[in-house]
C-alpha cells in the first residue's frame, strides 16, 4: 500500500544527477585532450571501466543487486574524476590502484553509496601520491611545448604496455605541472617573476592548464544552471583560495604567486565545482557548505605553499571531510516558527 506522496516527477534520480555531473566534465576533458594529447581520454575510459568493474565486484560481494547500483553512474564519475586528477600518462596499474583505493576502500568499506565519509576520488589520488610520488608528478607537457607528441595508439601502448615509440624519451613528452614547477623552483631561490617567464606559464596560470581550468568553470556553470549544485561551495571555495593566496602574495610579492595563479590551476576549478560539491562527503546545510568549502580552499593554498606535495586539493578535501558532521550539526538553519529567517 502506497502512502503520500503518490507521485514523483518523472525525470529525477541519482542516475540523472550523476549524468549531469559527468556532462559538466565533458568540456574540460575535451580541452584537455586537445591541448595535451589523447592520452587523457584513454585514461578516463580506463579508470571509469576499472571503477565500474570494481563496483560490480564489491556489490556482488556485499550482496547488493548489481544492475541498479551500477546504473547510478557514481562509479563512472569516481573513475573520471580520479583520471582527471592523475597524470594522463599514468601506467594502467597505477590508475587501477587508485580506483581500488577509491571504490573498494573509500566507498564500499565505508558502506557504499551515500555512506562514505571521504571523497573516493580524492582518497585514490592521495593514496597514490603518497605511495608513488615520482609517477604522480609526470604530467604530459602541453603539446605546444612538448618535443614530441603521442598519438592515441602510442599513448595506449605506453599506458598499457609501458613502452614508448622507438627513440622517444619520457622527458620529451612530460613535465611537472606549473604548480609543481613553481614550488620546486621557489625552493631553489628563484624569484616569482623569473619563474613565471618560463614557457610553461601562460597568462594567468600554466600554459594550456589555464584553459582546462576555464573549461571546468564552464562545466561548473552548467551544474549551477541545472541546479545540480548550489552557489555556496564554488563561491566559498574560490573566494578562500583567492583570499589566502592574496594574503601570501601581499606578504611577499616575489615569493608567493598571486591569487589568479592559484585560481587558474585546473585542480582549483575541479575542486570548486566537482570535488568539494560532492554531496555525500560535503556539508549539507547552506552555512555548512560555506564553511566546508572555505576551509577546503584555505587548506588547499596552505598545503600548496607550505606542504611537501605538488598540490593541496586532495588533502584539503579529505581534512574537511572529517569535519562535516561537526559542521552540519552546528549550522542547522532556523526551522519555521523558531524565529529567524531563511538561511
Amino acid at each position: 500500500m502506497a502512502v503520500s506522496p503518490h507521485i514523483l516527477p518523472p525525470a529525477q534520480s541519482v542516475t540523472r544527477v550523476m549524468a549531469l555531473v559527468l556532462l559538466g566534465l565533458v568540456p574540460a576533458t575535451l580541452v584537455y585532450a586537445w591541448l595535451f594529447g589523447p592520452a587523457i581520454l584513454i585514461n578516463v575510459a580506463w579508470a571509469a571501466l576499472a571503477c565500474v568493474g570494481l563496483e560490480a565486484i564489491m556489490l556482488r560481494l556485499r550482496g547488493y543487486p548489481v544492475r541498479p547500483y551500477l546504473g547510478d553512474l557514481s562509479a563512472v564519475l569516481t573513475g573520471w574524476l580520479l583520471a582527471l586528477s592523475m597524470p594522463a600518462l599514468s601506467p594502467w596499474w597505477l590508475t587501477l590502484t587508485g580506483c581500488m583505493l577509491a571504490i573498494v576502500v573509500a566507498k564500499h568499506l565505508y558502506g557504499g553509496l551515500g555512506q562514505n565519509v571521504f571523497n573516493p576520488a580524492m582518497v585514490g589520488y592521495a593514496g597514490l601520491l603518497i605511495s608513488f610520488p615520482a609517477l604522480m608528478t609526470q604530467w604530459p607537457a602541453p603539446l605546444a611545448l612538448a618535443h614530441a607528441q603521442l598519438g592515441a595508439a602510442d599513448s595506449a601502448q605506453y599506458i598499457f604496455a609501458g613502452h614508448l615509440p622507438a627513440g622517444l624519451k619520457l622527458d620529451a613528452i612530460t613535465s611537472a605541472t606549473p604548480l609543481d614547477t613553481l614550488r620546486t623552483q621557489l625552493k631553489q631561490d628563484r624569484t616569482l617573476s623569473e619563474i613565471l617567464r618560463q614557457p610553461l606559464f601562460g597568462h594567468l596560470g600554466g600554459k594550456g592548464f589555464e584553459l582546462i581550468a576555464a573549461a571546468y568553470l564552464l562545466g561548473g556553470a552548467l551544474l549551477l544552471a541545472r541546479k545540480v549544485i548550489t552557489w555556496h561551495v564554488p563561491l566559498a571555495y574560490l573566494a578562500a583560495v583567492g583570499l589566502t593566496a592574496g594574503v601570501f602574495h601581499l606578504y611577499d610579492v616575489d615569493h608567493y604567486a598571486g591569487p589568479w595563479f592559484h585560481l587558474a590551476a585546473p585542480s582549483t576549478m575541479l575542486a570548486a565545482f566537482f570535488i568539494a560539491t560532492d554531496p555525500v562527503t560535503g556539508a549539507t546545510t547552506p552555512r555548512g557548505k560555506l564553511i566546508f568549502a572555505a576551509g577546503a580552499g584555505f587548506l588547499t593554498v596552505l598545503i600548496r605553499i607550505l606542504g611537501g606535495y605538488p598540490d593541496g586539493v586532495a588533502f584539503s578535501i579529505l581534512l574537511m571531510n572529517i569535519c562535516v558532521p561537526l559542521i552540519d550539526a552546528h549550522t542547522q538553519p532556523k526551522v519555521f516558527g523558531h524565529g529567524g529567517d531563511d538561511a
Binding site: P5, G114, P279
Partner: protein, 521 residues
C-alpha cells in the same frame, strides 16, 4: 497591491485541475444507507444520542460533542437508525470506528431549523451553537471551528485569512465552491471577522484559479465587504495554513503555538461557506463538496451528504476498467482508501481514483546521497535527510532535536528526492512511535505516582492519626490524577505499528536485498 512574501522551498507538481474544474457542482444521489462516523474531527469522538430503531430527521443531532475539543454529528437525511457499530472509516491505518448507520426513507425531511441571530446572541452562545451544528475545518485538518472562532485572551485577532489556495494537484472542490458560491463564502467570512474582531480580512487564492478570484471580487463588491481578495503564486504547499499566512503577512506562526499568537486566524473557504449556511439557515454540517477525479468516467465535483459510502459516489462518477485504487485527498498528502465502503466524512475533499497510467509505481529507492534537494524543498526549513537518518536509526530523541514535530508532512522532500526515499513515511513512523512512547511513559508515570502517593498517603495517614489524636487536624487528600485516554493510546500504537509495517513493506518491495535496512532491524 498588497506586498506578498514567500515561503521556503515548495514544489510544482503537475496540476491536473482542469480534469474536474470545468463542470459545475452536482448533487450526489441520496444513498440508501448512510454511515456516519462519530469521530469526523480532531479531538474526542462525539457520543451517540440516538438508539437503533430511532427515527431521525435530516439535520437532527445523532452524536453530541463530548469534551471540549469535539463537534456534533447529524443525520444527513431522514430515516431510521439501523445500526451503531464499528465500520471501516477513512483513516490511513485502515482502522474501524464507531458509526451510526441510517437507512434513508427517501423523504429527506428536515428537522425544524432555527437561525442564529448574531445581533441578539453573545459570542460564546454563538460558538456553542456552532459546536452543536458540527462545524469543523473543511480544509483537511477538521479542527472544531468554534474553538478557532474564540479570540481568546487577546480578545481580538486582527487578521482573518480565508484559505482558497487549494494547492494540492487534482483537487478542485474549493475552486468550484468559490466560483459558484462566492457570496456565501464571504458572508461566512464576515461572521468570522465579527466573532474574532478581525479588521483585516484576506482571501488567498492561488493564481491558477482566475475564475474563482473574479467571482470572489465580484461578490465582495456586491456585498460591499472590505475583504482583500489576493492572488498568491501557485506553489505547493501554498495552501498550508502556515504557508499561506506567511505569504500573505510575512509572519511565521511560532513552533508549537497557534497562528493567533501572531494575530492571525485562518479558515478554509469551505468552512466559511458552511458557517454561513449554519448561521443563516440553521443548517448543521452534514454535506460537503467532494472532487471525484482521476480514472473515472465523469470527473467533477459533487455535493455529497456526509456518510455516503465512497463506493456509491464513485459509482455515480463512473467506474473505469483501469482504476486500481482510490486516494482520499490529493496525490501529495492523501492516503489510500483500503475499503470504499468507508463513508465520505467532513475531511473528504477529494476521491482520486488511481490507474497504472496516472500513478505508475514509484521507482526503486536508493541510498540517500545527501544531495540536500529535500532541504531546499522543505517549507518548514527542516533538514529532511537528517530526520530520515535519525528516524531510520530509531534515534527518536535526535529526530525531536531536529524538530520532527515542525514537519507538516507536505511531502515536498519526498517529491524531490533523487533516491526516491519514502521520507514522509519515516516521519509519520517516528512521530507515532514518539506518541506511543509518551503514552506509555505517562501510564508508567501515573502508576508510579499512584504507588508513591499511596505509600505517602499511608505514611501521612499514620502520622496524621497520631497528630489527630493530639490536635484533631483536618485530613488532606492525595491529589487525583487523570487517567490517560487508553483508547486513544491504543489507536496510536496501532497506527505506529501499521506505519512501520508499511515502511518495511515499501522498502522490501523496492529493495529486496540487504541494503538500506528498514527502520525495524
Amino acid at each position: 497591491m498588497r506586498q506578498l512574501f514567500r515561503f521556503h522551498g515548495g514544489v510544482h507538481p503537475p496540476e491536473h485541475k482542469a480534469v474536474s474544474s470545468a463542470a459545475p457542482i452536482v448533487q450526489a444521489r441520496l444513498p440508501q444507507r448512510l454511515i456516519v462516523p462519530l469521530r469526523q474531527h480532531i479531538g474526542t469522538s462525539a457520543r451517540a444520542c440516538v438508539a437503533v430503531g430511532d427515527k431521525v430527521l435530516k439535520g437532527q443531532t445523532i452524536g453530541r460533542a463530548e469534551g471540549y475539543v469535539s463537534a456534533a454529528v447529524h443525520a444527513p437525511t431522514s430515516g431510521t437508525v439501523v445500526a451503531i457499530d464499528m465500520r471501516p472509516v477513512a483513516h490511513p491505518s485502515g482502522l474501524s470506528d464507531l458509526c451510526i448507520v441510517i437507512e434513508a426513507d427517501g423523504d429527506d425531511r428536515w428537522i425544524e431549523r432555527t437561525l442564529l441571530d448574531l445581533a441578539r446572541m453573545d459570542a460564546s452562545h454563538v460558538r456553542n451553537r456552532l459546536r452543536d451544528l458540527g462545524l469543523a475545518g473543511l480544509g483537511g485538518a477538521v479542527f472544531p471551528s468554534f474553538i478557532k472562532l474564540n479570540p481568546g485572551a487577546t480578545a481580538k485577532v486582527p487578521t482573518l485569512v480565508i484559505n482558497g489556495a487549494e494547492c494540492e494537484p487534482w483537487i478542485t472542490c474549493d475552486d468550484r465552491l468559490m466560483r459558484e458560491r462566492a457570496q456565501d463564502i464571504l458572508t461566512g467570512a464576515r461572521i468570522m471577522a465579527t466573532l474574532l474582531h478581525a479588521t483585516d480580512i484576506l482571501v488567498g487564492v492561488e493564481d491558477n484559479k482566475p475564475e474563482a478570484l473574479a467571482a470572489l471580487q465580484a461578490a465582495a463588491r456586491s456585498l460591499d465587504f472590505p475583504a482583500d481578495i489576493v492572488a498568491v503564486p501557485t506553489l505547493y504547499p501554498g495552501g498550508g495554513a502556515k504557508q499561506l499566512i506567511q505569504v500573505l503577512t510575512g509572519k511565521e506562526a511560532p513552533s508549537g503555538g497557534r497562528s493567533t499568537d501572531i494575530g492571525v486566524q485562518c479558515f478554509n473557504v469551505g468552512t466559511a461557506y458552511a458557517l454561513a449556511r449554519a448561521v443563516q439557515h440553521g443548517e448543521p454540517l452534514m454535506s460537503r463538496i467532494v472532487t471525484v477525479t482521476g480514472a473515472v468516467a465523469r470527473p467533477q465535483n459533487y455535493e455529497v451528504l456526509l456518510g455516503t459510502p465512497m463506493a456509491e459516489l464513485l459509482e455515480q462518477a463512473g467506474r473505469t476498467s483501469e482504476a486500481n485504487g482510490v486516494i482520499m485527498g490529493g496525490p501529495m498528502m492523501g492516503f489510500d482508501i483500503a475499503d470504499t465502503a468507508a463513508p465520505v466524512v467532513k475531511a473528504t475533499n477529494c476521491l482520486l481514483v488511481k490507474s497504472p497510467k496516472l500513478f505508475p509505481p514509484l521507482p526503486r529507492t536508493m541510498p540517500c546521497i545527501r544531495c540536500g534537494a529535500c532541504a531546499r524543498a522543505c517549507p518548514a526549513r527542516l533538514q529532511p535527510q537528517e530526520l530520515y537518518w535519525f528516524a531510520r536509526a530509531k534515534n527518536f530523541g535526535k529526530t525531536q532535536e531536529y524538530h520532527l514535530f515542525d514537519c507538516i508532512e507536505c511531502g515536498c522532500c519526498n517529491y524531490v528526492c533523487p533516491s526516491h526515499l519514502p521520507l514522509v513515511d519515516y516521519y509519520r513512523y517516528a512521530k507515532s512511535e514518539i506518541w506511543a512512547r509518551e503514552q506509555e511513559k505517562n501510564a508508567a508515570d501515573l502508576a508510579r505516582r499512584r504507588h508513591e502517593s499511596r505509600v505517602s498517603r499511608l505514611e501521612r495517614e499514620k502520622a496524621e492519626r497520631a497528630e489527630r489524636l493530639a490536635a484533631k487536624a483536618p485530613v488532606k487528600k492525595a491529589q487525583a490524577t487523570v487517567p490517560p485516554d487508553s483508547a486513544q493510546a491504543a489507536a496510536r500504537k496501532a497506527l505506529a505499528a501499521e506505519t512501520l509495517a508499511r515502511v518495511q513493506a515499501k522498502q522490501a518491495a523496492a529493495a529486496p536485498e540487504p541494503l538500506d535496512p528498514p527502520a525495524s532491524s
